[in-house]
């Protein structure tokens, strides 16, 4: 049981920190979340810088242009990225965390050649066409159909909650190629977003931004060469990479929450409640201390999980615990922040030198996190069935 990072990990930290210290301020502040073309420009330019400096694809193998960092170096990376408040992975999220790894494991040499370099260099942006209006948690109930016509699939259907669709080049599209089978009738396509028959309709979120879209697909002709894996084998292909989302993907976010908590503490020291500085209130301090303890515990659990994966070679099911706890903790932190802001939260103007807008945005945005990437209810099913061995839900 050794919590001390190695000398080489610390050397990596030093090198990365000094790079971030100069590059993060130089990259400037992100554009408004309502201007997606500008956002794409900002995020992909940052990705390009990471690539050129050798920090892109931190867990990707070297043969695909990644850094192939050890698990502990990845933790150092996430700690430093969060500490420097570096730009978020943003519009590159799907390609880097999902599409790229899927191609590495399941793509043909030609498909890898075509996409992996552009993804890691920030030249190609991907979105995810998995969910449908009646296929969310029950993803395998998807209906978007694809029929083979010569060397093309003709695709028609309706996808929803597709982040960054309006600025994406490719879409990871799950389609139904066999209506008789449920899981074994699904195929995985890398669909170019500039094909005829794709209509993108932005779907405003409760935050008021339009990062989501609906995709309406009408007789879209997708070349068979865009298929990843075999026909009707898309469910397996999907599950190969979904585990990436539940592993260290949250490490950076968890560490970043420490900053939100510090912000809350700063706020509590300048705002007054009941004729006293809010921080004088013991109940509030205990609430804050409680959240801080939970956050520290969660970070310790990530270290425990990463060490376990280092030993066994596979990400454990603890990933579901981390996802479940982190997302609910983030919402409780949002609640406490809004309670502290009080009426000031209604205007979203700055309060005591703090950006009230950001606090309100984070609190609202956190509501998506217990839904996306497998709802909290699905995570609880996974834990109770696969870890505790309780009887399965009907499916």
């Amino acid at each position: 049981m050794d919590l001390r990072y190695s000398e080489s990990d610390e050397a990596f930290r030093k090198e990365l920190r000094s790079w971030l210290d100069s590059e993060v301020p130089a990259h400037g502040r992100p554009p408004s979340e309502h201007d997606w073309p500008a956002r794409r420009e900002y995020d992909t330019a940052w990705q390009r810088k990471l690539y050129e400096a050798g920090y892109a694809g931190i867990n990707w193998p070297k043969e695909f242009g990644g850094r192939d960092a050890s698990l502990t170096e990845q933790l150092v990376y996430y700690e430093e990225i969060a500490r420097a408040n570096a730009p978020y992975v943003g519009v590159n999220f799907v390609g880097l965390l999902h599409g790229g790894p899927t191609l590495m494991s399941e793509g043909t040499p030609e498909q890898r050649e075509k996409h992996i370099g552009p993804i890691i260099r920030g030249e190609e942006v991907w979105c995810q066409g998995f969910s449908e209006p009646s296929a969310g948690s029950d993803l395998a109930a998807l209906k978007t159909k694809a029929e083979l016509d010569g060397d093309h699939y003709v695709v028609s259907g309706h996808k929803i909650w597709t982040s960054f669709a309006q600025v994406s080049d490719y879409c990871e599209l799950l389609v139904r190629t066999n209506p008789e089978e449920k899981h074994r009738g699904i195929t995985w396509l890398a669909m170019p977003m500039d094909l005829e028959g794709i209509e993108i309709r932005p779907l405003p979120t409760i935050v008021g931004s339009s990062e989501f879209s609906e995709l309406f697909l009408e007789n879209v002709r997708v070349p068979v060469s865009c298929r990843i894996g075999k026909e009707n084998d898309g469910w397996r292909v999907t599950n190969v990479t979904l585990s990436f989302e539940r592993g260290t993907a949250f490490a950076s976010d968890i560490y970043q929450l420490q900053e939100s908590l510090r912000e809350l503490t700063r706020l509590a020291k300048v705002l007054t409640r009941d004729d006293a500085v809010a921080w004088e209130d013991r109940t509030l301090r205990r609430d804050v201390g409680h959240l801080a303890a939970e956050l520290d515990g969660l970070w310790a659990l990530v270290k425990y999980m990463v060490s376990e994966a280092g030993k066994t070679g596979v990400p454990g099911l603890t990933g579901s615990c981390v996802k479940l706890y982190y997302t609910e903790l983030k919402q409780r932190l949002g609640d406490l922040s809004l309670r502290l802001l009080g009426r000031a939260s209604l205007s979203r103007d700055d309060v005591g030198g703090m950006a009230s807008e950001t606090i309100v945005y984070e609190a609202l945005q956190s509501l998506s996190m217990t839904i996306a990437g497998g709802t909290s209810q699905i995570q609880r099913n996974i834990i109770s069935e696969r870890v505790l061995g309780l009887p399965r839900e009907p499916r």
Binding site: A292, N381, L390
Partner: protein
């Protein structure tokens, strides 16, 4: 960084677990409910090194660290080991015979002022009583105390006497020593709370798999599955925090020791209490009876909650630590 148990640590944990399973079963505890303190068991715990675990080898101890001690106390918590094990362990270097089990050492923490009654645990069975005060540690001869034995203490395995006042004792350590004692005590109590969190989750899960209602095991109903998934998640978070507290005590350069220990006490305290309550609930009507052991866990947790700082006090301490950072 390798935040996993070493082979030695796994062997240590397995050894203590198998001893506890054989020697400190729930049935054995039920016997103890009638007969009281088991001096023989105390000797066996001492022989296994429970009290001398962190004492240096030169002094006759085992020479292990706090992370190892947390693992051992996790097992002692899991089996609801009776007696003042934490105090006797902490006293290894302070009181002759504590490490070997010849002198049973109890204690009371008076380092924070409050209006609680003076309740001394295990008074009839201890040979020395340690008192933690803000300015130091004192030793009192328990025979010098007269008190009222509480007929039905909350935890049936933690007998208490109420005494009117404590005489001045022999001074064994200064304020710094007292603070250190309290810090390590909180870490060990966290280990025990973690063990209880696990034991009550496992008891509840086993029952949910066996008990049938409406023609199927109740563990197949989502309401229970989700409750148990939360129990497991809290327990794993508590485990990471408790182990981190031990590792940070051993190597203070990896983090803020005060913050790590307080974090552990908060998270293990919560996990144990929530899991034990869930265990009573999931056992249904039987969960509310003396027969099902769920209540033993709950009652021991309440003893540990009131040792070396409550969840609330430690949460406040974490808040103080993060506010200092600004």
């Amino acid at each position: 960084m390798d935040f996993q148990l070493t082979e030695d640590q796994e062997a240590l944990r397995d050894g203590v677990r198998s001893f506890c399973e054989g020697r400190v079963s729930i049935d054995a505890l039920r016997e103890l409910e009638k007969t009281g303190f088991d001096r023989e068991l105390w000797g066996e715990l001492a022989e296994m090194g429970v009290f001398s675990l962190r004492q240096s080898e030169d002094a006759g101890g085992v020479g292990l660290g706090s992370a190892d001690a947390v693992l051992v106390f996790e097992e002692l918590g899991r089996c609801l080991a009776p007696g003042p094990v934490t105090w006797s362990h902490l006293a290894a270097d302070l009181v002759d015979g504590a490490a070997t089990g010849e002198c049973v050492v109890g204690g009371i923490d008076l380092s924070r002022t409050n209006s609680d009654p003076l309740l001394i645990e295990h008074l009839e069975h201890i040979d020395a009583l340690l008192v933690l005060r803000p300015d130091g540690i004192e030793r009192i001869d328990p025979k010098a105390l007269s008190g009222r034995a509480i007929e039905r203490p909350l935890d049936p395995f933690t007998p208490v006497h109420e005494v009117a006042e404590l005489p001045a004792g022999e001074r064994l350590g200064d304020a710094e020593a007292a603070a250190r004692f309290r810090l390590e005590g909180a870490a060990l109590a966290s280990g025990m709370l973690l063990g209880i969190a696990e034991a009550s989750q496992e008891l509840a899960t086993d029952y949910a798999k066996k008990r049938e209602q409406f023609g199927r095991p109740i563990g197949g109903f989502q309401a229970l599955k989700h409750k148990l998934a939360d129990c497991y998640t809290r327990q794993e978070l508590a485990r990471a925090a408790a182990y981190a507290a031990g590792a940070t005590l051993d190597d203070p350069e990896v983090g803020d020791v005060l913050r790590a220990v307080s974090t552990a006490k908060v998270l293990t305290g919560d996990a144990a209490m929530e899991n034990a309550r869930a265990c009573v609930q999931i056992h249904g009507g039987m969960g509310y009876t003396w027969e099902v052991p769920a209540h033993y866990y709950l009652k021991r947790i309440w003893v540990l909650e009131n040792q070396f700082g409550t969840v609330g006090e430690h949460a406040e301490r974490v808040a103080e630590r993060i506010a200092v950072g600004d």
